[in-house]
Symmetry: C2
Subunit: 305 residues, 2 copies
């Protein structure tokens, strides 16, 4: 699957992923009004609003970006109707040729991780049939439970040619509280990274592994160290834009081949129309604003590689 | 909410939680056959099978146990129909007066954790309405992202009188890979526990806090240390029974007041009929086998307190 991701990145010359993390505050009033009139101010209404919002953005940017990253929490908060829209968003993006990274941050003990793995990137056996549930291409995974929580995801990656991104160093301000703690002089995130290298070696797909990692754009010095430790693992980089990471910071995350990293922006793309820079588009043309924000982001990131 | 949990534990004299982690392999053939005939060997058929299976067990044990802990992965693997059964299971258990601990192990950066918190234990604002989505009483939470990933859960606990159990030391064999690493001579799980004490102090509900922790039954010596560090925090203890933890090991997890811990069994209860000990019940009386397993477990745990 990472081969496909690289192909799409190369074809579109865009090491960029659009984070589809719709919050109701981002959705233009007109879309909300229509959705609430149809379904009411309830879970169904909210789900319809974020679906219409997503669809507008996907239609406007699918030819520019190689991948999208829907954050499942933003759908899960709207219960079953929200989960339906998550699922519909995954399918719609795949129809448009996009690689879909489900930002689910799941992780549990063995048998439970196996259920998450089959449900999100694999096939679940029901009677004599094999069925897919959410069917993303990649998902994000939390490593706190250790190898036996990760192995079931690796098994599915191998069987199905899918991929995972394991949290190593997250972009948030208090990520250091546990992740930076020194274990015999080595920060915990580096220990996790070393395991990612081991796990990744089992799942090679060409030059890169189907097992990547998450390292926040907000910690470029750590990006530099980890890039060296993980030469064959793709880095999914959150924290660009709204969270404070700049293109200059991102240089560290790429390999000499110009590959090895894909930078996410969520709010900066999907709520672009709320920024002064794109306010000329107006609320009703929010998707055009997103398209312009993607074009600007691609230029910015490519200037830094 | 922990007050309510303690009331139910005391009333039923049972510091026990039944893990509703239905795997299709546990579901009696007759139930599967009927479900597949009705819906086919697909996600709907699987969801119907686990719903009927759950319902049988809940009806058979709700008067014995104070709480249930549905493991969301086992539902999520069946996509939207599975999530609907998760939601229906939560509602049905609450109707039966059970405290529901959603074993979801969510955790992310601030705004995303906020979405998980509102979706699972809070209310989400939609237009001028406040709606509930999954509406569990407690959920489990992963601490790897640090305080700003946890704070949104604390906010909702305070507002809604709900609770969380934060992963400290999990029951699986490779939990030590990261959790046991020494930071200045102190294992990481103990650093997490110290933070749990701080977070918990913000959410007191009587003598105990609405913020508890997860410590596996398979590590009793760590249970002893952590019990002292966390005198006011409930410990949710997985790993009893099928995973190897015994009642003798569990003594360490309780306080002198006989409170402070609630022990989970999943497979040992819901798939009891598959054990030789309960095989006399037969597959069709699987729920009666579960009831007997609960009675035996309560006696075993109470003997160890």
């Amino acid at each position: 699957m990472v081969k496909k991701l690289i192909e799409e990145i190369t074809k579109k010359n865009a090491p960029v992923v659009a984070g589809l993390d719709p919050m109701l505050d981002y959705v233009p009033e007109g879309i909300k009004k229509e959705a609430f009139e149809k379904y009411g101010e309830n879970l169904e209404g909210a789900a319809e609003a974020i679906w219409q919002f997503n669809k507008g953005i996907i239609d406007a940017i699918y030819d520019l970006v190689p991948a999208v990253k829907p954050q499942i929490a933003m759908y899960e908060q709207f219960g079953i109707p929200g989960m339906e829209v998550f699922s519909r968003t995954v399918s719609y993006c795949k129809e448009k040729g996009l690689v879909v990274i489900g930002d689910v941050k799941r992780g549990d003990i063995g048998s439970t991780s196996a259920a998450y793995a089959t449900g999100h990137i694999g096939k679940v056996k029901i009677g004599n049939s094999f069925c897919t549930a959410f069917d993303e291409d990649f998902i994000t995974v939390n490593p706190y439970l250790g190898s036996d929580g990760i192995n079931p995801f690796l098994d599915v990656c191998k069987e199905e040619d899918k991929g995972i991104f394991i949290l190593v160093k997250t972009s948030n301000p208090s990520s250091g509280e546990f992740q930076d703690k020194l274990v015999d002089g080595v920060p915990l995130y580096e220990l996790v990274a070393r395991k990612v290298a081991e796990w990744g070696a089992q799942c090679m797909d060409g030059t890169y592994s189907n097992v990547g990692c998450v390292i926040g754009a907000t910690y470029p010095e750590m990006g530099r160290t980890l890039r060296k430790l993980l030469p064959n693992n793709y880095i999914l980089v959150p924290g660009y834009g709204a969270q404070g990471g700049t293109a200059k910071d991102l240089k560290e995350y790429f390999n000499a081949d110009g590959l090895g990293a894909i930078v996410n922006s969520s709010r900066g793309i999907i709520a672009a129309y709320k920024q002064e820079k794109y306010s000329k588009f107006g609320e009703e043309n929010y998707a055009d604003a997103s398209r312009q924000a993607v074009l600007d982001m691609i230029e910015d990131i490519n200037s830094a590689k």
